[in-house]
């Protein structure tokens, strides 16, 4: 006879954060990869500093006396273990959570994470140079994707699975808003035609970074506009990295926890999801752009933080925040 399962609050929190940190690692790799493609001759530093801006790290970055150039930014995000928004810090935090979750997670998840962690800590500065950077980003991305695949294929789907998914989906939605925001921080110079071409290239780059370029091509009009890209990344219901798609999945997870596992504390979080959806679908992409895309994305990020807060206070209020949790409350840029 099988027992009805339950979940320690501390495990729920650990799973939520483990997934968030892993998702953050993957998205940072995506952001860094696309940033490199935005380098234009003579303006490399601006492209790289945009990365610092969308992560709201300007203050921390400058406080350390770092110069806003390509080398410093790359080092800051890919090698600096003391930087709480870096890839090694996030992976370290994911593994730290995984260690507390070892009684629960599949052995195969832990094994891959261990090997991946060792690999990332061994990244050498020379791998950040030139064409090696892109393949490094791919390797990091694939490390997380391997973990996701193992998790999908091995992790027992009781309550824990849904808390894991919630962390991952909230982080993914947040990261997609940041990816979109990168456009806001890029300055484009030149005549009209030159600007138009550069912009098209940049939007294409963003879509590629989100792994959505081809899907977008299939659904977009031939002469696509920025509105189409914004709509795709925010509102599309089929693209797995769009904010709208993440919200649907978040809703499904919360509803499952509520109906199958009888967790009534999901109510406030479900309400937040409704509010987020209203904000997201209440206006067209062109209205969003006219009113200010950057401000809209800021508000979304803030709402996602509130949503995470509702889940935390309902299901893991009593436990200590996991190490590195402070990195979650990235301030609003």
């Amino acid at each position: 006879m099988l027992r009805r399962s339950f979940l320690l609050s501390r495990y729920a929190e650990g799973l939520f954060w483990m997934a968030r940190y892993l998702e953050r690692v993957e998205n940072l790799a995506r952001l860094i990869d696309v940033t490199q493609s935005f380098e234009s001759p003579g303006r490399e530093s601006e492209a790289w500093f945009a990365l610092v801006r969308i992560n709201a790290d300007e203050e921390d970055f400058l406080k350390r006396g770092l110069t806003p150039d390509a080398a410093s930014v790359k080092h800051f995000y890919m090698l600096d273990r003391a930087n709480s928004t870096s890839i090694p810090f996030s992976l370290e935090s994911a593994r730290h959570n995984a260690r507390t979750l070892r009684p629960l997670i599949a052995t195969e998840m832990w094994r891959q994470l261990n090997i991946f962690h060792r690999d990332v800590l061994a990244i050498d500065a020379s791998e950040l140079e030139g064409d090696r950077l892109s393949s490094l980003c791919t390797r990091i991305k694939e490390g997380v994707q391997a973990q996701s695949g193992i998790t999908a294929g091995t992790f027992y789907r009781d309550q824990g699975h849904y808390f894991y998914q919630l962390g991952r989906l909230i982080e993914r939605a947040d990261q997609t808003t940041r990816l979109l925001d990168i456009r806001y921080h890029l300055l484009v110079n030149g005549g009209y035609e030159e600007r138009r071409l550069t912009e098209i290239t940049q939007w294409g780059g963003i879509l590629r970074a989100a792994a959505g370029y081809h899907a977008f091509r299939r659904v977009a009009r031939p002469g696509f506009t920025p509105e189409d890209v914004v709509s795709f990344l925010l509102q599309d219901k089929q693209f797995p990295r769009s904010v709208g798609c993440c919200l649907d999945e978040i809703d499904a997870c919360l509803t499952h926890l509520r109906s199958v596992h009888n967790l009534r504390g999901t109510a406030p979080a479900l309400e937040r999801v409704d509010e987020l959806r209203n904000a997201l679908f209440g206006q067209s992409a062109s209205d969003i752009i006219i009113a200010g895309l950057h401000e809209f994305l800021d508000a979304l990020q803030s709402d996602l933080i509130s949503l995470a807060g509702e889940i935390g206070s309902a299901f893991f209020p009593m436990v200590q925040p996991p190490r590195g949790a402070e990195a979650s409350s990235q301030s609003q840029s």
């Binding site: 979940l7 320690l8 501390r10 495990y11 009684p103 009593m318």
Partner: protein, 508 residues
């Protein structure tokens, strides 16, 4: 990496084809000489030992280079799997493995029969002793044991007096440290009746052996070790407070910073119960609950891997962050069971150990199946006189210390060290015991210089609820440094897979 095991197997076949001609430096047992020590593989046992001969031949067929490569791959896999203990320094966490030696230590069925019954006998005695001293203290009034040795012992817990434990079991999990002398006789070095560790390595070493050296294990009929988690859960369920239907068992761990955290994870998983930390538990209405996503949930048995002093800050150390405030109160009300019981430390004390043969006779009316190491109790005049007269031949140990602290090894000590020990001994004879230096047995072990004899011990694990069950074999810890007698992992010790042959002549 993933294909290493497969390649290694292919490699072995290749080696086997050539092995007829192998000799000299690539023959693993080239120049192997255990000297005056009992060798666990090569000293004749006086019974048919086909398994020993087979293993020796198979290791020879693999050859030294392949043995080294496969051993390295096996250890690497331990790191990947995180079968490690973690050393923390500042911001860094360094994962270390307990070094694994690939040459198994083999116990015959007859040897195991002696060890198993000897361990049972000691566990029964420890439990009878604890029940006695926390109730009627007959052993003290009968003068078998000096009263202050028990009542003045820092590990004696007045909270246990007249407190009933189910089945009279105090020591639910016991680890008995056993060595083997040059005659091949087993001797008990100490009993670990508090929170003994190491059992996870017994099971993991077997899994590792099966993955990395299937050709060594092929056809061997061994007693399995996979049953530990089920047996442990069974015992934990048995000892739950009476009247609880389907009791909830948890494992209480100090958390990830504890060096035995991997073992805690292993045991929680093998039992299928939550690994909890102090903060996950709370006491309300004199009951213990754990915090879950759907509110509080009752807990009935706690397999605790934290010491008595840390269990409940309201009763013991107020500074302890590891325990649960109110836990002892809930336990005193009989609403939760603890394994091991509180206050077992008085039974595995070094001075009490010296009396174990007399205690076995007193409680069970039997002679000890496993001998103690001959121990001179310096609180007794003849013991003190003998010790003082033979300082340079004896190992002198303080009774209250553990982990090898304060020990003087006479044959290896300087004159000044011996005189210092003599002064300490004379100042407070009651704090000391002495024992002859034991020439521990050795086992062939893969080293930098080839297969060499290294000293080792054995820690079998006994689980007791209603009855006692002993895991076949136990943890063989091996001192990897030449000549060293120290098997502790913190001091360069490793471990071996320990095989108990299912019956004599054991090839299937």
């Amino acid at each position: 990496m993933c294909f290493q095991g497969y390649c290694a197997l292919q490699h072995t076949k290749f080696q086997m084809d050539k092995c007829a001609g192998m000799s000299g430096v690539n023959e693993p047992f080239h120049n192997y000489d255990p000297g005056q020590y009992f060798c666990e593989l090569t000293t004749p046992r006086g019974v048919p030992d086909a398994a020993m001969a087979t293993i020796r031949r198979r290791i020879g067929e693999i050859g030294l280079p392949a043995l080294r490569a496969r051993a390295a791959a096996a250890e690497h896999e331990l790191i990947n799997l995180g079968i490690t203990f973690t050393v923390y320094s500042d911001a860094n966490a360094i994962d270390r493995i307990l070094p694994f030696d690939c040459i198994p230590r083999i116990l015959t069925a007859a040897e195991w029969a002696i060890l198993e019954s000897g361990v049972r006998q000691r566990v029964a005695t420890l439990n009878a002793f604890l029940h006695d001293i926390y109730h009627d203290r007959r052993i003290l009034t009968d003068g078998v044991l000096p009263a202050d040795l028990v009542l003045g012992n820092p590990n004696y817990q007045p909270a246990m007096e007249r407190f009933p434990v189910r089945f009279g079991t105090y020591v639910h999990i016991c680890g008995t440290d056993i060595v083997r002398d040059p005659q091949g006789d087993f001797l008990v070095l100490e009993d670990n009746a508090r929170t003994p560790s190491g059992v996870s390595y017994v099971v993991e070493n077997r899994h590792l052996m099966a993955r990395a050296f299937p050709d060594l294990m092929a056809g061997m009929r061994l007693r399995p070790v996979d049953d530990y988690g089920r047996r442990l859960l069974e015992a934990m369920t048995e000892i739950a407070p009476e009247g609880v239907d389907d009791p909830q068992v948890v494992l209480l761990s100090p958390g990830i910073y504890n060096s035995a955290y991997f073992e805690h994870v292993f045991l929680a998983r093998e039992m299928g119960v939550p690994l909890v930390e102090g903060g996950d538990l709370m006491v309300e209405d004199d009951r213990v609950w754990m915090r879950t996503t759907s509110g509080r949930r009752a807990v009935h048995t706690i397999y605790r891997r934290i010491g008595d002093d840390f269990l409940d800050p309201t009763v013991f150390r107020p500074d302890s962050m590891l325990g649960v405030p109110g836990l002892i109160g809930a336990w005193r009300k009989g609403n939760v069971s603890l394994a091991n019981a509180v206050g077992t430390g008085v039974a595995d004390d070094k001075a009490v150990y010296a009396y174990m043969p007399r205690m076995i006779r007193y409680y069970l009316g039997e002679d000890a199946i496993l001998s103690n190491v001959e121990t001179h109790i310096c609180r007794e005049p003849e013991g003190l006189a003998f010790t003082l007269a033979n300082m340079e031949k004896l190992v002198v140990k303080p009774v209250g210390e553990s982990g090898g602290y304060g020990i003087t090894i006479g044959p290896r000590a300087s004159k000044a060290e011996i005189e210092a020990a003599r002064a300490a001994l004379l100042a407070d004879p009651e704090n000391w015991i002495s024992q002859p230096m034991i020439d521990l047995s050795v086992a062939p072990t893969l080293t930098e210089t080839g297969v060499r004899p290294r000293h080792l011990d054995l820690r079998p694990f006994a689980v007791t609820g209603r009855n006692t069950w002993v895991l076949p074999g136990g943890l063989s810890r091996v001192a990897l440094k030449e000549g060293s007698l120290v098997v502790n992992s913190s001091q360069g010790g490793g471990s071996k897979d320990t095989w108990v042959l299912a019956d004599e002549g054991s090839m299937g």
